[in-house]
Subunit: 470 residues, 2 copies
């Protein structure tokens, strides 16, 4: 081991190999569900240094855990408790390498913070649309490794759809330069998309070329009260028809989720939620003008009110109001935490089946756990719900979680399976769900995943035990 | 072999195992560049029958060549001359399985003809946007296996971006049911995108769930004369800014390409091409109304004329005129064939570098081959050019091709490499370019491709020798 440490020091400089002191920032996951112990935290400063680290670890047979901003939600980027794993932190790779306005592309190091990509695009008069709660600290490498989603997926897709090319260091410490800015390239297998979403188990992403878009001339936000989840789905269909690609956000929020925001953050003044089971937040981006955006948006809401799929609706009058509406949406997880511990799910269901899924699963949980409270909200436009379960009011929440977490997870996941959904829509598998995956993925798919893992990482040194067990 | 044939008959019925008579429809490729000899043509009628065929061939160690509509352009779907390969034709798998309006998805058998998907979507009041010249006979399975492009990529992406889920029969004859209609699913490796574009070398696609879109309220077409390729790129940037996602087509056509259409199809009356080096065809789809589409489009063209990046422009007054403009674009390959044999390329280059690529490569070819004629046209919005080379006027075209094809290919591909492009933008590799690939793909990428091929098809029975040599 001393031999490996000295090789790592030789590769990246002694100052960038951390073995002593408080390493908890790298060893503890974002939600503090896991506290591991690293053999070392290694912070290379270039792609070549990443390759040298991988070669040294491969030769020593030492497992490597790639890490970006460490904001993942499934314990996929922190070391286990063995003290045998090296944390490979990419945050020193933080250059914006190039911006190509005519090609609408941005090439960056993997350790760039997401917000820096958004800013680089904005400075070039363009848009990088990936946006999510952790954008101030997550890195694009982590976004790619987990195929992050966020709030603009209904228009721009997940991180996968925003990526054109990758630079990757393999398990053997070779560098694959796949940093293409091409929209079309049919020269062999799609290596790019195999690395995207593989959570650091197949290779280490060190750079990426991402798509940029023209900036909209205006972006408007509306808030609608809807009489049922069926109505929310109808409203979504109308929004697609009226706004086309102008529809950039479509979030649904259950009444109880909003009541928690109203209770813990009264200053946010949640509108229209008291008499309906759900509210919807819509965003409309327009290439033409605010005036045009407003007329199209108002026409949509008129039609929705006539149809009855919206009971009431408001369009934000200005940017301040729009931010406030988004703020309410983003405050749900915080309000939920204020209310106490809860059991989180990040699921997706075909949009058409979400009303039946919710009715059925709400009923099932209420029968099984009297008094249970459901904090249901999410990206309805993508069929993605954060279907969270809060303990009955007033009880011992910790005791509730200990007694019920496994059972509730199983109840929800079995429902997800019945409705052809996914047990992880946008957060990934990591260590947290790796044990569950075999119950919800076909043996044929798992067999292929294992074959691919063995093909690209035969020594099983890249993030072993995460995603898939081989 | 007789043993295998009788097993195949048992699997799919004797009537669907063809071994005698004229099999040239399955044995000859679309461009008639290759005439092979099949051991048998097998036409299964269900996914389970495909699986049985694969199991029988795997046990016998007999190579299998999956085939859809047999409209591929790179000799990837026809048997070689050995008489040892089984052609697995998917065309009897032609059911539309399901359409889900609220989820905006369409699930089909792989053998469905592309036009049937377009029609099924239209009947549901929705849009399936994939569109290409062979749409009346190519199948969606072939489109997926080759990640086909076409004319709407600038807005909707390639076939890959239109697919949510796949059903695949593996080399071992297992069925992977990955027919999800989910927009978000981060539960493990991206098997879907690995099969898409793998040209039948990793698995046999038997079904797919594809994305649908709202139908635009109006679609308009414009034609602009541009003073240079630089100007065409400037116009593209303006179109992105003014139309946003309304920009659904952006085609560029060189003057000589258009002069061939004017010569061989004078009735098509090619507009505005006589005094400029390039013309551009733009398409704008609008969710609101034809009136709105026209006002936005006219504003764009005004700005372009002021800027000077367009020398002249017309917007089609009605659907008939719009079809006529597209007809001119689509007549280029036909006019080219009327003019005689030529050397075709399907390349992509970052949009920003296309002007320099064309200037440089045009000059190089003209110096190397005095009198050479360049038929340059393509999907500029995606950086995809069909950069074709026609013999000097009046000479012996066959002799020209024999003497120059390899040399011209190498000249063009080396230029593509210099400009960070791809030697196959939308057509794939097949057998035609498999020998060339190692010159233009990094050893690290090729090494990973071989490892993946060995992992999923260890017996090397799926379309062997196509795409990648192992």
């Amino acid at each position: 081991m001393n031999d490996l440490i000295s090789q790592l020091r030789g590769a990246v400089g002694a100052a960038h190999v951390l073995t002593d002191g408080d390493l908890s920032a790298w060893e503890t996951d974002w939600r503090k569900r896991s506290r591991g112990k690293a053999l070392a935290v290694v912070r290379p400063g270039s792609t070549q240094e990443v390759a040298a680290v991988m070669r040294a670890c491969a030769a020593a047979g030492t497992p490597v855990v790639p890490q970006g901003g460490n904001t993942g939600l499934v314990v996929g980027g922190v070391p286990d408790e063995s003290g045998r794993e090296v944390v490979l932190s990419l945050t020193r790779l933080n250059r914006v390498r190039a911006i190509d306005r005519d090609n609408l592309t941005l090439t960056v190091d993997a350790g760039c913070v997401l917000q820096n990509l958004q800013q680089a695009a904005e400075e070039a008069g363009l848009l990088f649309p990936l946006s999510l709660a952790a954008e101030g600290s997550c890195t694009i490498g982590g976004n790619l490794a987990t195929n992050a989603g966020g709030t603009q997926v209904v228009r721009y897709g997940n991180t996968r759809e925003l990526c054109l090319g990758l630079e990757v260091v393999t398990a053997q410490g070779e560098v694959w330069d796949g940093l293409t800015g091409l929209r079309k390239d049919n020269t062999g297998y799609d290596l790019r998309d195999l690395f995207i979403g593989s959570e650091g188990t197949l290779g280490v992403i060190t750079g990426a070329t991402m798509k940029l878009y023209p900036r909209p001339a205006a972006t408007l936000t509306a808030w609608a009260a809807v009489p049922s989840m069926e109505a929310a789905v109808t409203l979504l269909g109308l929004a697609h028809r009226h706004l086309g690609a102008g529809l950039t956000g479509f979030e649904v929020m259950g009444q109880f989720a909003l009541s928690l925001v109203a209770k813990h953050y009264p200053q946010l003044r949640v509108p229209l939620h008291e008499s309906v089971p759900y509210c919807v937040l819509l965003e409309n981006a327009d290439q033409e003008s605010e005036e045009h955006a407003r007329s199209v948006f108002e026409r949509l809401l008129e039609v929705a009110l006539e149809d009855g799929c919206a009971a009431d609706a408001v369009v934000a009058e200005n940017l301040g109001q729009a931010h406030q509406l988004w703020h309410i949406r983003e405050a749900i997880p915080l309000a939920q935490a204020e209310e106490g511990l809860n059991i989180k799910h990040d699921i997706s269901i075909p949009v058409s089946r979400i009303p039946a899924f919710c009715a059925d699963t709400d009923g099932l949980l209420r029968r099984e756990i009297p008094g249970v409270r459901l904090v249901n909200f999410g990206h309805l436009g993508d069929g993605n719900l954060h279907y969270n379960v809060q303990a009955p009011e007033g009880g011992d929440m910790k005791a509730f979680l200990n007694a019920n977490e496994e059972r509730v997870n199983t109840l929800v996941y079995e429902q997800v399976k019945r409705f052809d959904g996914s047990i992880s829509a946008e957060h990934g598998i990591g260590l947290l769900k790796a044990g569950k995956l075999p119950d919800y993925k076909s043996p044929v798919a798992l067999g292929m995943m294992r074959a691919l893992k063995r093909a690209l990482d035969p020594g099983n040194i890249l993030n072993p035990g995460r995603v898939v067990h081989i």
